[in-house]
């Protein structure tokens, strides 16, 4: 077990830098998961999203007041001076995500049924903004119907009618209990981000070990020892596994601390299993990179490309729903994609029968396949390199 012991010694010697990576990436995943899950809770209409809205009204009429009142129910109204720089800054720093300008003569045109437009300046791609768009259009379309159909309608009357109509809302039933759903969203995000963290830590941590080991002179010396290559490799892989499992344990424990606060669910167990399989996969990717790369200077760059690249196209940072079909097809050739797919499915699962779990198991098997494939390639390439 000399090789194994040596590996552990090298890892132990680098324990401080490894700890930096662990703390850093754990921190990142935790912050991301908390921010994403709170956003999830507030940004969508179920819990009444609150976009930050500034209304610049060039006139003051009962109708504009009514509209403002209505919008105040679904958005945080932020008062801003009507100055270009102030408005630009507000959008720049996201103190508001939506600026609505009501032009002069707007109410009168509405009351006459004439076409008129409100001006909006927005941060693009925001769901809460889309929700505001819908509400404003709904308000004014309903107003249009009243103006068309009812004679001599005053603005005050119109506003009253609209207020009543717009109070109507679809009843929603969430099949799992609410608390659990919210928490699982948190776990889902946390575990998705975990793929980024795990991969980063393993690549950066293991490369330190592999660079020592792949030193040509050392390899020669090892080759001269009365140990078979297979034996050396076995011990080495064992060390890599120990490191992988320890890293995963630290990460998983932290997740448990967060998750168990809200009570334990079976989902967590499956999520943990999935992350463990991914950790194996990440270890074998790291092993491959460590075998291929000769220059230690290149490691940070490579690690960066692999971890961020996979995360972006596989739905870790940008939700899968927002990715194009082609991108997803491409991503399905990476293990991260299957990891995230399994996570997303697991997060909302309430019944754990075989039919429901089968796709999850398929994803896990594919990840294991990736792990074996990367490992085999690393072994072959490593051997070729030694013989050169």
């Amino acid at each position: 077990m000399q090789v194994f012991k040596l590996c552990l010694k090298i890892l132990k010697k680098n324990i401080r830098s490894l700890l930096i990576y662990i703390v850093l990436f754990l921190g990142i995943s935790t912050i991301m998961a908390s921010s994403a899950s709170t956003e999830q809770n507030t940004d969508f209409s179920f819990t009444k999203s609150k976009a930050r809205l500034a209304i610049i009204s060039e006139e003051s009429t009962p109708l504009t007041a009514g509209l403002q009142q209505e919008l105040a129910k679904i958005a945080h109204l932020v008062a801003l001076p009507d100055e270009i720089e102030a408005l630009q800054d507000a959008l720049y720093f996201r103190t508001v995500s939506y600026i609505l300008r009501i032009p002069k003569g707007f109410s009168e045109k509405i009351m006459r049924g004439q076409p008129v437009k409100l001006h909006k300046t927005v941060i693009p791609n925001s769901y809460s903004n889309a929700y505001l768009d819908l509400s404003i259009d709904q308000y004014l379309n309903s107003a249009r119907l009243y103006v068309e159909q009812i004679e001599d309608l005053s603005q005050e009357e119109l506003v009253q009618f609209l207020q009543k109509d717009l109070a109507v809302e679809t009843a929603v039933e969430i099949k799992t209990n609410d608390r659990q759903a919210a928490k699982q969203t948190y776990s889902q995000y946390f575990f998705n981000y975990l793929s980024y963290s795990l991969l980063s830590i393993l690549i950066l941590g293991l490369s330190a070990l592999l660079l020592v080991f792949n030193n040509q002179d050392l390899q020669k010396r090892n080759a001269c020892a009365p140990l078979s290559t297979a034996n050396v490799n076995r011990q080495f892989v064992l060390a890599v596994l120990v490191f992988t499992v320890l890293t995963w344990l630290v990460m998983a424990l932290l997740c448990l601390v967060f998750a168990l606060k809200d009570g334990f669910t079976v989902n967590i167990l499956y999520l943990l299993l999935n992350s463990f399989i991914f950790a194996l996969c990440a270890a074998s990717i790291s092993y491959l990179i460590g075998t291929l790369v000769k220059s230690p200077n290149a490691i940070p760059a490579i690690s960066n490309v692999v971890t961020l690249g996979l995360s972006f196209i596989s739905g870790v940072f940008v939700p899968m729903e927002l990715l194009g079909k082609q991108v997803l097809k491409f991503a399905s050739f990476t293990p991260t994609y299957w990891y995230v797919t399994a996570n997303n499915r697991l997060a909302s699962l309430t019944k754990f029968n075989y039919t429901n779990l089968q796709p999850v198991f398929t994803s896990m098997l594919i990840q294991l396949g990736f792990a074996l494939a990367f490992f085999a390639v690393a072994l072959v390439l490593g051997k070729n390199r030694r013989l050169q």
Partner: protein, 378 residues
Amino acid sequence: MSLHIFGNRLKCLLRDKENVFWTMLFPILLAVFFNLALSNVNAGESFQAIKLAVVNNSSFHNDQALQTALDAAAAGEQKLFELTLTSQEQAEQLLTEQKVSAYLLVDEEPVLVVSKTGIRESIIKSFLDSYLQTTAAVNTILQNNPNNPALLFQSAGERQNYLAEVTGSAADPNNILIFFYSLIAMSCFYGGFWGMREVTDIQADISALAARINISPQHKLKAFLSSLTASYLIHFSELILLLLFLRYVLQIDFGAKSGYVVLTTALGSLAGIAYGAFISALVKKSENMKVAILIGTTMFGSFLAGMMIQDIKYLVSQKFPLLAYVNPINLLTDAFYSLYYYDTFSRYFLNITILGGMTIAFCLGTYVIVRRRKYASL
């Protein structure tokens, strides 16, 4: 400046091909990945129709208006929904198996049944809300002597658009750009590795090569600066390549002030190298430790600047504004963005001034440590 040292250093650095290859390629590769992931977000294209089950009971059968509305939303090229009419048990089954995002049960009032709250579920609900609110308006009107009830239903089905988007400044706010700008900023700070290498090669207590330079009749700082210039030249060239790639291959819009973009990149590269040099001079621990600190701070800085998830950037600037101003990667990202976004230069200059100040501080810090020409131990 010693041309002799500069030239030889340049030769040395360029001959480490693996290093040059990866440092040049990694931001470009990442840009490609970003572009893949984000192209869809920006264009909003190829929206996948949301799968919705509807319980096919008598109440639904009787609600003609709802059927019409749903059918309209489930037709055409850009359809919003993919509908499945089915029994309640079946719908329940579909939902638990996640074959549909939600199902709709009409029972006096329509009820939307979901298993979680997400983007798709929200879209369905917004659609239904809008339908119900229009229905409420129609009902109210019918009770209040309408002029032309025959026209009412048709009119209710037509929706007019009352909003026009206007630009608040030189360019539209663009979320996607933040990703690319923070990528450039991160690449600038990966220049830290070049700076780190320079310090390693000039500090006699770290490398034998450095000892050799220390005993030569070359002024140490002059030698250091000459050698650093070589690193800077390579790193800056790599960044220019990245900018060209972003601009001409990925068609990223940098706004009208392209000269300033290059200038900002030049400063960013310098800031990154100075930062790496400073860390390397400051941390007396092992090489691995320095790398860990450099990667750690750079990645955390990029994270806070919104490279992975943009909302983090605004969370920081709203809740911890000071942190936003001391994070050089955020400053650099903001500098690029304000060039794109603002008509005026005031915000740009603010960012650049702080970043410049930090760069000078890194340089001075490095100078104070590297200046020592005798070591306590070798």
